[in-house]
Amino acid sequence: MKVNRTIGLILAAVFLAGLAILSCTRPAAKQEPAAPLSAAPHQSVEEQEAAIPESPLKDAYFGDTHVHTSYSLDAYIGGARLTPDEAYQFAQGKEVVVNGLKHSIGRPLDWAAVSDHAEFIGEMYSTQVAGAPGGDNPMLEELRHLKTADEQRAWFGKYVVKNMRGENPSHPPFYAGPGTTKSAWQAVALAAVRDNYHPGKFTTLAGFEWSAAQNEGNMHRNVIFRDLTVPDMPFSALDSPNEEKLWAWMAEQEKMGSRLLAIPHNSNGSKGLMFAPLDKAGRPLSAEYARLRSHYERLIEMMQIKGNSEVHRKFWPADEFADFENGDSVGTFSGRTFKKENFVRWAVTKGLAYEAKLGENPYRLGFIGGTDNHNGLPGDVAENDYIGSHGPADGTLKERREGEIDGWIKAKESNPGSLAGVWATRNTRAAIWDALAARETFVTSGPRIKPRFFGGATLGATQDPVELVKQGYARGVSMGGTLKALERAPTFTVHAQKDPDGANLDRIQIIKGWVNAKGEPQERIFDVAWSGNRKPNAKGKLPALGHTVDLKKGTYANTIGAPELIGSFTDPSFDPKQPALYYVRVIEIPTPRWTTYDAVRNNLPRLKGVPATVQERAWTSPIWYTATK
């Protein structure tokens, strides 16, 4: 026994020494530590970055802002064993093993931010790093050997769920102290971010998820840093479940030299909390609240595995494309009843009413994507080889067809999630993060569609996409930008290029939002460019394109639609005194939904209750018109 203890002491000493070396707290983190053990001389990260050429017309870079690994407690329980390091490897194209099967992303991502739940990373460090403090706790010993889904559920319910959804969530009894949280953050999360950054090829951003879920309403935010100037540990819902406290913490980090932003997600399941008219103290939103929110929360995750939060067909019956990955069962679990006020289109439009009243817009949100994959697989969005996203909950064919992702959604109604797009001058941390902060972002439901969107008083229509982009940057603003008071309607120019390996495009739409005198959101959808020789009918409605999907074989053909679309738009109902926003939606031709591919591959009947085909799409961040000088 004494031998064991002494070995323990030695191990502890080895560990502490290791941690002391690895800890990259703020002052030291300005410079990236050199890769360990490497004797070969090589360029510093700064030198590598400086050598990457800049592209003035910018390129689209595809990534994921939302992925969980074995360092998220819920993912670990569900069998996730890929670490943050392995998640970044997967994103770069390396094959991994998930649910016992080999799996590869196919097309690598350009960038990614692993966003493990900050709450329990310390506990996960104790669980996974042999010899770590607290690792011999019997509750963790149980955790390491949970086998059946029932065992997993029971354990999670007992130690985590009740606690997190209560008023004052706290660490579970097996927490071994803040030292473990720091170790997880620095020696695991940040080390993976550092080791996998290849300027010009693949960018990693440091991040974590703040997972407040009071009363089962989803208030989660992913916090993402510009560089490795970061605090020595993240801020979790156990520090405070109040978003204003999160912003106060972010303000402290800014004072210490960090640059960071927060991305809320799953507003569809927020029970009215994400865009609530009252703050946590029960007061109407104040100008200060609005100012802080628009400063720290510049983007919102439009869509992910647990549904599309843009709109829902029930509340937007007039929008013919609102019937897309609605994830209806999200609205029936844990009392997360859907309401219009939880959806992104409503919120960004409502923001205009707040701006009129408070002088600040709390919902000045650009659009971004993410998967929320809990298998450690960033950007695993291909419909045609989808293997589930939440461990055993949807890891087998049977579970995908009949099961549910615990407490959230029926597996068959989930989807592979969305991709995050940014327009950046080059693929470096600074350029990618700056595009996020400037809201020059877009989302796709999976395909690598590249949408361009500019607005300005002097833009002209053109059929040349190069000219369109040059003009846009020279004389207008890009997606995420703001137009100040104008005397007459601005011109918006749009271009979309299909996924080079994907389906053709059906149309480009511009969606306009404004509020009426009572502050109620209003909207209108315009078709701006479309494929083929279709003519809008007398009511202005463009006929549907039809489809080429063979449901028996799970195939489609690009014999309809267009590889690229270009157009321009002037708002016929533009009112110079009326603040408004405009965003773009690009619609693909119909292709098989993942459930159809799954059925064809396994020779099973198609599932009832879910669409057989989808029209994948891209959304750009809005351009705002403020009507003020």
């Binding site: 031998v3 010899g131 590249k450 267009a562 590889p563």
Partner: protein
């Protein structure tokens, strides 16, 4: 040679083992688990106090130190009595924990030995396919849109191709074909990078194109392309310096697995394993034991 011995993880392991043995032999004298003496040294008390201070962010008071000592003695007594009664035997958690500690100690020692350049080079040579650099190509291309020209696109492409071939390699191409955001000039890029912009089909087609000639039309997801391949670099095995980090990562992971297995193999030799199956088909040897 000496360097090689110094780097040998097994040697580290044995050295640490021997050191531990000597330490207990000399310092523990008479206070081991089977003795009736319980000795708490000043150093251990210091350690207890430090543990307290880490949790509570202040040093313990005299009373608290006494409490810590009493508690430690209780724990020591409990452990000795429990072990004497055999309570540690057949306890899954204790067994797993002991195994984990042993394996971890081994892994720590293993990780402390940096791989040599020779080992890494050998690994790279053996596993060349994992690190092989993709073929690269640089080219100019002219895009023709089926959207804009429909069924005439193929004919347009052939006409333009003939003109280009007659005009020679340095013809300006900026105003040929249809306007596109696809780059007209592509610098030396891997096929995966070409696919990222032009798609898989186009990327694969470029592999077969001759260098220094206008070729095509080639199909992509966007339409047709006429392509002049400027240069090509065949796939190759990178130098160790170029892929050192990845090689090191993979080599160490593999070495850990191999040496852990080897350690069990060596330890297994110390034991005679008897597996009693239902039919009592004991072969008296190791054939049924799986040590790793």
């Amino acid at each position: 040679m000496m360097r090689k011995i110094v780097r040998e993880p097994l040697l580290h392991f044995l050295t640490i083992g021997a050191a531990l043995f000597l330490y207990f032999h000399w310092s523990g004298g008479g206070s081991g688990p089977t003795s009736d003496r319980i000795v708490l040294t000043a150093g251990q008390i210091g350690h207890l106090a430090a543990g307290f201070a880490k949790t509570w962010q202040r040093p313990p008071t005299e009373v608290e130190i006494k409490g810590l000592i009493d508690d430690w003695i209780r724990e020591e007594i409990a452990v000795r009595e429990a072990m004497a009664s055999g309570l540690d035997r057949d306890d899954t958690i204790i067994r797993r924990r002991l195994r984990q500690k042993l394996e971890f100690l081994f892994e720590e020692v293993d990780a402390a030995v940096p791989p040599s350049d020779r080992e890494l080079q050998a690994w790279l040579t053996e596993n060349a396919d994992l690190y092989r650099l993709e073929p690269q190509v640089s080219f100019r291309q002219i895009y023709l849109s089926r959207e804009r020209r429909g069924s005439a696109t193929e004919d347009d492409a052939r006409t333009l191709l003939a003109r280009l071939r007659a005009a020679g390699p340095d013809t300006p191409i900026d105003h040929l074909g249809h306007p596109t955001l696809l780059p007209r000039e592509v610098e030396m890029s891997s096929l995966a990078e070409v696919a990222r912009t032009f798609g898989q089909e186009f990327s694969r087609s470029t592999e077969a194109l001759p260098v220094g000639v206008w070729s095509g039309p080639i199909q992509s997801g966007f339409g047709l392309h006429l392509v002049w391949v400027r240069a090509r670099v065949a796939g190759s095995l990178p130098d160790l310096a170029q892929v050192r980090l990845a090689v090191e990562r993979d080599f160490t992971a593999d070495r850990r697995r191999r040496q852990l297995a080897a350690m069990y193999e060596r330890l297994l030799a110390k034991y005679r394993v008897v597996i009693e199956r239902k039919a009592a088909d004991d072969d008296g040897g190791k054939s049924g034991a799986n040590a790793s």
